[in-house]
Homo-oligomer: 336 residues x 2
């Protein structure tokens, strides 16, 4: 019989299907396209030597002339920004219509000069450089007084919503705290008031005791498949030290995150043949960076199935993979 499980933070219910269930290896993709890509594409705005094809950069490592090509990681404003970097924050309520002017920040972080690579195929030091850029740019976006919240994400592959092959992440700073984020904060606050504990710390403790959904651990982080994973191979990477904000990461934690992120993505890359995925860093809004009841984490969502009318209409999900079997499968994939 299927089982309906609840994500206790988002309160979403997930049907873990049994009639429609597939074995972990049945989610393997047709084969990686990455290995076929060239390292350099003359028309790609994110390839070295094409620095003038993007708006003026906001970040580069190592530091240097903004038009030179010897960078390892680079950040630039999004040329087709969803929000405008200029303009005043204006809120209007007319009748039932609520509007905010579309101001904020939208940046792209180019994670490597190599067009054909991806986080899974980089080395630890390269992933660490990308994470250092995420941190610096997230802080800079939040320094904009109009911005209330930052969402850091990565769309890998066409099914994940990108048409750009060159490895990159994005961040969008919004002038509003999204409802879904508020909702999670409220749930977490309720749990804290009832129990005196962070709901994320409590979840992590329970997962580590049980062990069956853990994919990997190192000194500072734990990667696991959530009990109520919304879709096949949905993964979370939690910092073990309580901190509401991604920006609160210590210098020691950064290399540790780089290593577990690369290894986890490598397991997906080898185990499922480079599936398309979204990667999201969930962090507290600016005004809640210090709270005791919220906890930042990283979420990886392989796009192996499509959501349809049922998910849209109910907000529930159907997952055709067992979280426990998927975790076991990923543990069995060599990560090096």
């Amino acid at each position: 019989m299927p089982e309906i499980r609840q994500n206790i933070i988002s309160r979403q219910w997930v049907i873990i299907a049994s009639e429609r269930a597939r074995r972990p290896d049945q989610f393997k993709q047709e084969g990686s396209v990455r290995v076929e890509l060239p390292s350099y594409v003359p028309t790609c705005p994110f390839c070295p030597k094409n620095e003038k094809m993007t708006p003026l950069e906001t970040y580069r490592t190592p530091p240097g002339d903004p038009m030179s090509s010897n960078w390892r990681v680079r950040a630039v404003p999004n040329k087709f920004a969803a929000l405008s970097a200029e303009g005043e924050l204006v809120r209007m309520n007319v009748g039932l219509k609520r509007t905010i002017s579309g101001v904020g920040q939208h940046e792209v972080i180019v994670e490597s000069p190599d067009h054909s690579t991806t986080l899974a195929r980089m080395d630890d030091a390269e992933v660490e450089q990308a994470i250092a850029a995420y941190l610096q740019r997230a802080q800079s976006v939040l320094d904009d007084s109009r911005v209330e919240h930052v969402t850091l994400f990565k769309n890998h592959g066409p099914a994940a919503g990108t048409s750009l092959e060159h490895p990159h992440a994005q961040l969008i700073g919004t002038p509003v705290i999204p409802h879904e984020v508020r909702d999670r904060l409220e749930t977490a606050l309720g749990f804290y008031d009832d129990t005196g504990r962070c709901i994320f710390c409590a979840t992590l403790e329970e997962e580590r005791e049980e062990g069956i959904r853990i994919v990997e651990e190192n000194e500072h982080f734990t990667a696991f498949i959530p009990f109520a994973a919304l879709s096949p191979f949905h993964l979370w990477i939690y910092p073990r030290r309580h901190s509401a904000s991604f920006l609160g990461m210590s210098d020691e934690e950064i290399p540790s995150l780089a290593r577990i992120l690369r290894r986890t993505l490598r397991r997906l890359y080898d185990g499922l043949s480079d599936p398309d995925y979204n990667l999201i860093i969930r962090t507290a809004p600016k005004e809640s960076e210090q709270v005791r009841y919220y906890h930042w984490y990283l979420s990886i969502v392989p796009r192996l199935t499509k959501t349809a009318g049922f998910e849209m209409g109910s907000g529930m999900f159907i997952n055709t993979a067992s979280p426990e079997e998927s975790a076991q499968f990923l543990r069995g994939v060599e990560a090096e």
Copy 2:
């Protein structure tokens, strides 16, 4: 400059993009595949003469022998049901893990014997027969004492999550009221307590006064593009008479819904070349069918763009089409 608009019922924020905006006719698809399909496919479980390929039917019109092939609309249990029709409703809370046994109902409504047709290409009487089946099956699913809520939906085309070509809708009766539905009920209740009005009735009144997002009206229904449409050509069809439940439709309203639904889908079919879409009927949970603050409606979501990491991480959306321009475009498409 882009504009950020709020759906006041779901409280989701949508960025109506300007830098990335496309004109309505740029969303036109490559061309309908429907016209190329045969009317009958020997291996299709939903085609007439293949009645034995499905579980025993629960509905047919006109009534007759369950193995005969002279039906117009037919309903059957889903062979790969997401929830089990047998078994007891058991709820378990172990530590932080919340589970409900996966019981409920999952049916398929075959909307026509013709493999190649779709609601947009049927006539009013045929669509009316399909809606009569939706109503009868929704009521039957809700009669199961384990079921708390029913979601009625249709996935049209591969981008909308279906691999079956034969025109069909589905309904899933869940043993839990989804969080997202609870959330909308709470928002609507708050509005009612503050104003004494149904938030949906108030929205409809404002939309009809303004007129610019209306696509079509008839005696009982209004089709319009929401002010905060989540995606291009996202459409709502609202009944004008207040009723929390789809099951409360009067005999007069059914043909009126059939006509506006067929005409609205026809506008999409001709205007955008048969786009893939999801159709959802949002209705109150069983226990709230009589409430004054909730209102059933029908939602159509063409799958013209992909959601990505930003939407997943923030719960906000980016819509690359102007709701007002899209409505104007659809009004200009001949619906007959």
